[in-house]
Each structure stands twice: as structure tokens, then as C-alpha cells.
């Protein structure tokens, strides 16, 4: 599948549009270590894009480049057809990119509801004076956003833990709350860093279903890193494979599965 600008319709009837985000020749170095070297790929509107590769392949670094924690030494990032200037992570969030973390990054001192409400931050506009007075614009805005958050809570089926401090929740639920916080932002692009790490089969099934539903119902573009090959191959539209900071494969799950370089990277290759 080449990066043509035309849209197409998948077998299950979803429309995949033009590229939303294009990474062009990205190189990222830490001192003398090259974490990512000359990698290019794109993410199309409405698709589920997986980034896979062995440990240390540069997957997480890639996500961190996309949402601005790391700034690549070389290469360009294009978002919605415009070349992106170097930005801080919070500015990138304001552009509509949300993410979850490999190790859960929730706000431990706050309830589930408040955690997900923080996801609405970029959509709330009342200034400090209105907030201080509360009655009027601030309260109206709060209740309006609360409604959206309640939809997310219903969607993820976490009504019962609405007011529980997240620190008390089990791991699987925390992952779900973190997804909820990202969803509440109604992002244009959602980045998921190992959303199923450390989960049992049942939890993985739940999470896969949520990811597919998000993509299907809201048309959210998703880029995810995942180690579980079965899951990746099942849910993603296209897969990019990294190894030692280089791209070794890119295409549909079937294409990637049959790529000799990918097979070598995962199974090892005999040197003789």
C-alpha cells in the first residue's frame, strides 16, 4: 500500500482517508547513540496503525517524537498537510494528539471522574476570573464537559468507579481510565503505548474491543505500539516494523507477515 493521497474503503466498510501525519526521514540521537535512523512512514485518517519491533527498536522513542517529548535532529513531521515546527508536548496536545503511556500515567490523587475530566482541558476556555466566580460561564462549561465525559465513562463501562481515587483501582481498570482520559480529549490522533501490556487474555479482549469501537464509532485515527502479535495483526490496518532504529517493513498485516526481513528480525537469522 503506497502513500497515495486517495482514500479507500476497507473490507469492513470503514473509510480510510489521506495521510494525517507524515514522518519524513526522522533521525533521533541521544549523545552518540542513534535511537531512530532515517525513518519515514505515514498515518492515514481513520486507520489503526501499529508500530512493532523487538525491544529497543525505537518504538517508544517514535511516539515520543510524535508528541514532542523528543526532538529529532533530522527529518520533518507533517501534520494535516503542514510542516510542524518544533513544539512542546502541551502545544501538540492542543493540536489534537492524545496518548496513553506504557507505565500508567494517571493522576493518583484524583478520582476517575476528575482524571477523565482533565482530558477535556484543551476544550475548556473560561478564564480565571470566571472560574473564581463559578456561577455562570464556568459552571455551564463544567457541566457541558461533564456530559461528554459521562459518555466516555459509559462507553468504557466504568460507571461504578466514577468517584473512586484511581490509586485504589486494579491495573486493568487504570489502563481503561487512562484510555478514557485520552478519549475525552476527542483527539484527531490517538497514540497508545502498549495498551495491553501486562493484561490477561480477557482484559486484552476488552481492550481490543474498545480500541476497535473507538476507531469505528468516532472515526478516531489510532497509532499503537503492541507486543502481542496476534492482537496487532487482528486489529490494525497497516503495520510498520522497526528494528535497531531502522524501518524494516511497512504494509498490511499480511504483507508484513511475509516480509523476509521481519521474519529474520523476530526469529533471528543464521549467520554463516
Amino acid at each position: 500500500m503506497n502513500a497515495t493521497a486517495e482514500s479507500y474503503v476497507t473490507a469492513d466498510g470503514r473509510t480510510i482517508g489521506a495521510p494525517v501525519m507524515e514522518m519524513k526521514n526522522i533521525t533521533l540521537k541521544f549523545g552518540g547513540v542513534t535511537a531512530i535512523s532515517d525513518i519515514s512512514f505515514d498515518i492515514r485518517e481513520g486507520e489503526i496503525r501499529a508500530i512493532i519491533g523487538p525491544n529497543g527498536a525505537g518504538k517508544s522513542s517514535m511516539l515520543n517524537v510524535i508528541n514532542g517529548f523528543y526532538h529529532p535532529q533530522e527529518g520533518e513531521i507533517w501534520f494535516h498537510g503542514e510542516k510542524r515546527k518544533p513544539m512542546k508536548p502541551y502545544q501538540i496536545a492542543q493540536q489534537g494528539i492524545a496518548r496513553t503511556f506504557q507505565n500508567i500515567a494517571l493522576f493518583k490523587g484524583m478520582s476517575t471522574l476528575d482524571n477523565i475530566m482533565t482530558g477535556r482541558f484543551t476544550h475548556m476556555k473560561t478564564n480565571m476570573l470566571m472560574q473564581a466566580i463559578w456561577k455562570g460561564p464556568a459552571e455551564r462549561e463544567e457541566n457541558l464537559n461533564r456530559e461528554i465525559v459521562e459518555h466516555v465513562i459509559d462507553f468504557l463501562e466504568i460507571q461504578a468507579i466514577r468517584k473512586t481515587p484511581v490509586g485504589r483501582l486494579p491495573y486493568g481498570l487504570q489502563k481503561r481510565v487512562e484510555l478514557g482520559r485520552a478519549l475525552a480529549a476527542q483527539p484527531k490522533l490517538l497514540l497508545l503505548d502498549e495498551p495491553m501490556a501486562g493484561m490477561n487474555v480477557e482484559e486484552k479482549e476488552d481492550m481490543s474491543r474498545f480500541i476497535l469501537d473507538v476507531n469505528d464509532e468516532f472515526g478516531t485515527t489510532i497509532a499503537l505500539i503492541e507486543h502481542d502479535m496476534g492482537v496487532v495483526m487482528d486489529i490494525s490496518d497497516r503495520v510498520v516494523v522497526l528494528d535497531y532504529g531502522k524501518k524494516i517493513g511497512d504494509g498490511t498485516p499480511d504483507e508484513v507477515r511475509n516480509n523476509q526481513d521481519v521474519i529474520d528480525a523476530y526469529l533471528g537469522v543464521a549467520h554463516d
Partner: protein, 330 residues
């Protein structure tokens, strides 16, 4: 050479020696911070408490005399004996070790894995407690501490350098300051030796690096903490003796901790050489600033100079002079 040149040198020399005294206090902070991640605000009060205890033992004071007298209407004051200085110092050291044990038992043990900021606030509480406790135990009057170190200006040096320039009356340096500098140097050298060449020292450094890993190779965290707090108590005792001999044992002694804080910000919280160099920079800096700029802006700039210097410095180099660069992983 004009006289101002020599006076400037005298200011720098005095600054260096004051700086070493700051370093002495800062050293106690570094020891505890490295091994347990606790930023021990009480270090200054520990110095005060150690000095109070030393004077109390040396002059044979009855502990809690004031309180006992108030409650029971008695008139205890002194046992009426004098304890030799060396014995008194050893006994005071014993008290500081007992104190270290109690701190581990009653406070640290219960605050493992808490945020550093919580531990910091707990040590502020500890400082308050010790201050009140020390005063109850030994009384809050200003005490004279005499451990036999020479006091006053060094006449020989003054005489020898007088007349080096027109209107220059020779270098005025305090004997006690010079002794303190020498003792501080010996102390630092022996601490370095201890931490680099002994088994306990290695264990200390292991704990400082990663306490989980240290636990897994069989190092007892709690023993290490007691050792570290005892060491810090020892450093506090030395600092208490020096500062106490200089300006009397009184409440204001605990405030030297406030002077050690900017030293730490400058030198980094984890570096022993940093504490020494930071102390010297601050000692010299504040003396020079007061000497050159102070008269024009009302004086007493020593109150804040160290802090503002450290603050400005931190904004440009947050990890301090010798601290390791912190790389945040996402």
C-alpha cells in the same frame, strides 16, 4: 601594591574559612541525602543539639533540671563535676548515635517510599522537636564552649605581614577559623577514605545508587540508615564544636543550616566535593559582595546573597556544580 589589594585578599581568605565552616554543615546534608534520599533540614539543629549536649556533659549539668525543678519544686542545677573534654566529646557522640537509632526507629522506618517532599517536611518537624527538646534538656541560655582550641586573631601573621603596603596593618585571621579549616579538611579526607576504601563505605554507596538492588545483595537498609545518621551526627558535633566555640552555643547556631542550603544547591545534593567547593564559593562570594557592594545598599547582604546566587545559578544549571544531569525518561 595598594592596601586595598591586601585587604581584598584578607576578605577572600576569611571568606574561604567561613566557607569551609558552611561546607562542614553541608557535608552532613550530603551524607544523609546520598544514602537515604532524605533532605535533612534538621542538620543545623543537630549541630546545636550536639553542642548543647557536649557543654552539658562537660560542665556536669543535670538534664531537664529546669523542668524537674518546676514540677517538683527542687533546686537541681549541676552535678558538680567537670568531665574531661575528650571524654565529653565521646559521650556526646554516643548521644548522637543513640539519636540516629531513634530517628530510624521512630520516623524513617514509617516513612519509607514516601515522596521526598514529605520526608523533607518531616525533618522540619524533627528540627522543631529537637530544638524544643534540647532547650528543655539543657536550658536555653547562651553557653560558652571551650574545647581548648586557641581563640582570637593570629598575632604572628599580623605582625609578619604588616607594612606590606602603605596603610596596611597586616592580615587579620582568626586562630579558631584556621583550626576549623584544618579540622574540616581532615574530616573530609577521612570521610572520602571511609566511603571509598571500607566495606561499609561501599555498602553506603550501593544504597545511594539503588536501594532495592542493595537490599537484594544482602545489605541491611536500616543498619545503613543508622550508620549514615550517626555519621551525620558526628559531622554535626564537629560543626557544633566549631561554631559553638566561635560564637557561643545558642539558638542561632541552628540557623547555620539555612546557610548550608544554598551551598548544597550550588554544589549539588549528592556530591561531597561539591559541598566543599560550593561552601567556598558562597563564603568568598558573600564576603566580597558585602565588602564591595554592601556599603552602597545598606549592608547585611549576607542574609540573602547566598540564596540569590544559588537561585540564579540553579536556573541555568539545575543539577548544581557537580550533580549528575538528570535525564527524565518518559
Amino acid at each position: 601594591m595598594p592596601a586595598t589589594f591586601f585587604y581584598t585578599i584578607e576578605v577572600i581568605a576569611n571568606g574561604l574559612m567561613t566557607g569551609v565552616m558552611y561546607s562542614l554543615v553541608a557535608l552532613g546534608f550530603v551524607l544523609i541525602f546520598k544514602a537515604s534520599g532524605v533532605f535533612n533540614y534538621a542538620q543545623g539543629v543537630m549541630a546545636l543539639f550536639a553542642a548543647l549536649t557536649l557543654v552539658g556533659i562537660q560542665t556536669g549539668q543535670v538534664p531537664f533540671a529546669h523542668l524537674i525543678n518546676t514540677i517538683f519544686g527542687t533546686h537541681y542545677d549541676k552535678f558538680g563535676w567537670q568531665v574531661p573534654t575528650l571524654v565529653a566529646i565521646l559521650l556526646a557522640l554516643g548521644v548522637m548515635i543513640l539519636f540516629a537509632y531513634l530517628v530510624e526507629r521512630l520516623i524513617l522506618k514509617h516513612l519509607v517510599n514516601q515522596d521526598p517532599i514529605i520526608l523533607f517536611m518531616a525533618t522540619i518537624g524533627l528540627a522543631y522537636f529537637m530544638e524544643g527538646f534540647g532547650d528543655l534538656m539543657w536550658g536555653s541560655d547562651i553557653k560558652k564552649l571551650d574545647v581548648g582550641l586557641p581563640q582570637g586573631g593570629n598575632l604572628w601573621l599580623e605582625g609578619a605581614t604588616a607594612g606590606w603596603a602603605e596603610g596596611f596593618y597586616g592580615f587579620y585571621l582568626d586562630n579558631l577559623d584556621m583550626w576549623a579549616t584544618a579540622i574540616a579538611v581532615v574530616l573530609v579526607a577521612s570521610l572520602m577514605f571511609f566511603s571509598n576504601y571500607t566495606k561499609t563505605g561501599r555498602a553506603l554507596r550501593a544504597v545511594a545508587d539503588d536501594n532495592q538492588a542493595a537490599l537484594s545483595v544482602g545489605i541491611s537498609l536500616r543498619t545503613i540508615w543508622v550508620i549514615v545518621w550517626s555519621l551525620a551526627g558526628f559531622v554535626a558535633l564537629v560543626a557544633g564544636i566549631m561554631w559553638g566555640a566561635k560564637s557561643g552555643v545558642q539558638f542561632s547556631l541552628s540557623l547555620i543550616a539555612l546557610k548550608a542550603l544554598p551551598v548544597l544547591m550550588l554544589g549539588g545534593f549528592t556530591s561531597i566535593p561539591g559541598a566543599i567547593v560550593g561552601g567556598m564559593i558562597i563564603g568568598v562570594g558573600e564576603k566580597l559582595f558585602e565588602f564591595s557592594v554592601g556599603p552602597y545598599i545598606g549592608g547585611a547582604t549576607e542574609n540573602w546573597f547566598a540564596y540569590v546566587l544559588a537561585l540564579l545559578f540553579l536556573v541555568f544549571r539545575p543539577q548544581g556544580l557537580f550533580g549528575e544531569k538528570i535525564i527524565e525518561r518518559v
